[in-house]
């Protein structure tokens, strides 16, 4: 698709990227701007409601989801670097608001405009080459919660994009689509089972010998990255956006708080 005129997109930054990985949001911004998108960041946004929704606390999830719906401008695309946040909007909101027709309609319209970053690049902007200066061997962990909903476009945007980076050698791991064991509250409630799953994922990652493991979801990144950090495994966990933008590390501190 070749969009007519300047495209504008609001960054839906995900509360975990906001708090723990601001460089992921900047990588996403840089990437979007590279392709001429005018990027905004509505600062009144907080969270999509996943933690409450996935624990079955729907009343609280609805309150937070409503707040998200109110936080964005009425037009333009909404793009998030976190797959599960996009999935929440696409697959979660219709469940959450099934008994509230008006909010449901608003949520559906919101979902229409909401894209996970790599899908936005491929399906909306028609990007085939992210023009990333990144170099290294990368293995890719498929997050389970990339949106599976009605918006079927290119089969596999993350791999499509990774493969077209000249400096990147994509080395597939076994069981790339198997859950890493995060599961949000699951990893708090059942840390031992969660870690057993993560260990299996790490084994598969290490077996590739790749220098980097990339994923398109903040949850997987915290989880996989957390175990790599603890044991000092010889691989670095990066968000897909960081590989696509080509900036593995953005300076953390600048100016007075």
């Amino acid at each position: 698709m070749d969009p007519k005129g300047p495209v504008s997109a609001s960054l839906f930054f995900s509360c975990s990227a906001d708090a723990f990985a601001p460089d992921v949001c900047f990588a996403a911004t840089e990437l979007l701007e590279r392709f001429g998108v005018k990027v905004g960041a509505p600062l009144s946004q907080t969270c999509c409601g996943q933690p409450a929704f996935f624990t079955g606390n729907r009343k609280e999830a609805r309150a937070v989801a409503r707040k998200l719906l109110r936080s964005f401008p009425d037009d333009g695309y909404i793009v998030t670097p976190s797959g599960s946040c996009a999935a929440m909007v696409h697959d979660g909101f219709p469940v959450l608001f099934r008994d509230e027709p008006r909010t449901l309609a608003a949520a559906r319209a919101f979902a229409e405009r909401t894209y996970e970053l790599s899908r936005f690049l491929v399906d909306v902007l028609g990007v085939t080459d992210p023009k990333s200066p990144f170099t290294g061997t990368v293995t890719y962990h498929e997050s389970c919660r990339l949106p599976k909903g009605p918006k079927a476009g290119a089969a596999d945007p993350p791999r499509t994009l990774l493969r077209s980076i000249p400096g990147v050698a994509l080395v597939e791991m076994e069981e790339a689509g198997r859950c890493c064991g995060f599961g949000g509250v699951f990893s708090v409630r059942h840390p031992q089972i969660s870690c057993a799953m993560t260990e299996r994922k790490i084994e598969r990652i290490l077996a590739t010998g790749a220098e980097y493991v990339a994923t398109a979801d903040m949850g997987c990144l915290l989880n996989i990255g957390g175990m790599i950090s603890r044991y000092g495994y010889p691989v670095k966990a990066l968000h897909l956006a960081q590989v696509l933008a080509g900036a593995p590390r953005v300076e953390e501190e600048e100016g007075p708080p």
Binding site: F13, P22, T55, V95, R189, E254
Partner: protein, 470 residues
């Protein structure tokens, strides 16, 4: 069978630290899942077949009463005796009565989840009937005194060494290391039972309404022997097992077998229509079919109706990464894995099994694997919400959810919280990721680091770098 699902966490931890079980799981689940995935991938029409099977199941369930009535009428016309039980107690009463009236002393049984659901062994014991499980895996699990770990294969979780120890301890057999010797030991014991048994007890994979037939699938042939050799055959089946027409069967056979074990078709497909007639070479003289409701009618009326589409193939177990780590025991009842985490709360009560829907990352591997499209992930999520309405959530969880919502309702509050947590975590970790966190996150950081909150979260950095344009 009494549910023991409240102890999920405890039994899961036990399973994780059981080295032998872990080896068996990795070996067995890994193998079966690889075969399943390969069989599905090589089946060109898989998606179309799945769609068709799902549609057939849904259509059948929407008029289940009519199809059941037809099944009963046709089966009785052909000489079967059909019983219907509302609940497990009534079902046991019927089993005991049938066994007594038919004068049965020994019953051979082939693996049946419906029979386990109603604790059929209690009924037989009460009626003074000796009972032998003839499914090889079931036989071993029964000897070991363990609940079945998989819908298909009850001793899924046991290594050859473990089986050998059970045979040594319970049967006085010498130790054996190879599978052939072990199964020969079991077969020899079982053969004696087949020839002496007055009654064979089996489940049913399908009930065909238009002919009143019972369809039995098996890979080791024991179900067929149990159905044909003894004088009486008792079938125990859930009321949802009915399919309207014989012509509906092929799509289910192809899907079930591939999804279960990766085979294109089961080794044995037995279609049993009525008891032995004059001129038949074999078959039971009496055929009883016991249809159990045990909560199914209630499911049929509610939002979980599609759970009854399940054809018990076990694909969701094989595909589930949690099941792959802990095996079937922690689920604590007849049905383990994702379908167990849905059916146990529905059939045995949510208060008994509220822990099960939480024991999933909701990764969706189960829903993707299901050949009849039971929305397992969505149901697990729905059940998590039901626990709130039924007052089954811990007060601490509800307090947490309320606190979470009140923070997230205002960006200013979230920003303040980020600042406080950031200061605190930096104080503790001095710029490194956190290697320990307080309750309830202590477990999280046992083998993983958690990042500190950034000194300047994105929303703050954006304002600094881009100005407050928004």
């Amino acid at each position: 069978m009494e549910p023991d699902s409240r102890a999920f966490e405890r039994n899961a931890l036990k399973a994780l630290s059981d080295k032998e079980l872990q080896d068996a799981l990795e070996n067995a689940v890994g193998r079966i899942e690889a075969r399943r995935a390969a069989a599905v991938a090589s089946f060109d029409g898989f998606e179309a077949a799945r769609e068709r099977a799902s549609g057939l199941r849904r259509e059948t369930l929407s008029r289940l009463g009519d199809h059941l009535a037809r099944f009963i009428e046709e089966a009785e016309k052909r000489g079967a005796v059909v019983h219907v039980a509302r609940d497990a107690a009534q079902a046991r009463g019927i089993v005991a009565r049938v066994a007594r009236e038919e004068g049965v002393a020994l019953a051979v049984r082939s693996k049946s989840t419906a029979a386990e659901e109603i604790s059929l062994d209690d009924a037989l014991r009460e009626a003074g009937v000796e009972e032998v499980e003839t499914d090889l895996g079931g036989y071993v699990a029964r000897l070991a005194g363990e609940p079945p770990s998989h819908i298909l294969s009850s001793a899924f979780h046991m290594t050859r060494e473990a089986v050998s120890r059970v045979f040594e301890g319970k049967l006085g057999e010498p130790p054996a290391a190879d599978a052939a010797t072990l199964s020969a030991i079991a077969r020899k014991r079982l053969e004696e039972s087949f020839s002496r048994a007055g009654m064979g007890v089996s489940g049913a994979n399908f009930l065909v309404a238009e002919t009143g037939s019972v369809v039995l699938l098996s890979n080791d042939g024991n179900a067929r022997a149990g159905a044909l050799l003894p004088r009486v055959h008792l079938v125990v089946a859930g009321i949802e097992k009915v399919v309207p027409r014989m012509a509906d069967l092929p799509v289910f056979l192809r899907l079930l077998s591939r999804s279960a074990s990766g085979q294109p078709l089961p080794s044995y497909v037995s279609i049993l229509t009525g008891p032995r007639r004059d001129g038949d070479a074999e078959g039971p003289q009496r055929l009883h079919v016991l249809l159990i409701d045990c909560g199914r009618s209630a499911i049929l009326e509610g939002k979980y109706r599609d759970a009854l589409k399940c054809i018990r193939c076990g694909a969701c177990l094989s595909a589930c990464p949690v099941y792959g780590c802990v095996g079937g025991r922690p689920y604590g009842w007849v049905y383990p894995g994702p379908i167990g985490a849905v059916l146990t709360p529905l059939l045995a009560g949510l208060s008994e099994a509220a822990a099960l829907p939480d024991a999933s990352t909701l990764c969706g591997a189960c829903s993707d694997a299901c050949p009849v499209k039971v929305p397992l992930s969505a149901f697990l999520l729905e059940l998590r919400s039901d626990t709130r309405f039924q007052g089954l959530k811990a007060p601490a969880e509800i307090a947490w959810a309320k606190g979470y919502a009140s923070v997230m309702k205002r960006a200013g509050v979230l920003e303040a919280l980020e600042r406080i947590l950031g200061e605190l975590s930096r104080l503790v970790s001095k710029g490194h990721p956190l290697s320990g966190m307080p309750y309830p996150f202590a477990g999280w950081t046992e083998r993983r680091d958690f990042p500190s909150v950034a000194r300047r979260p994105f929303r703050k950095l954006w304002k600094i770098r881009r100005g407050a344009r928004e």
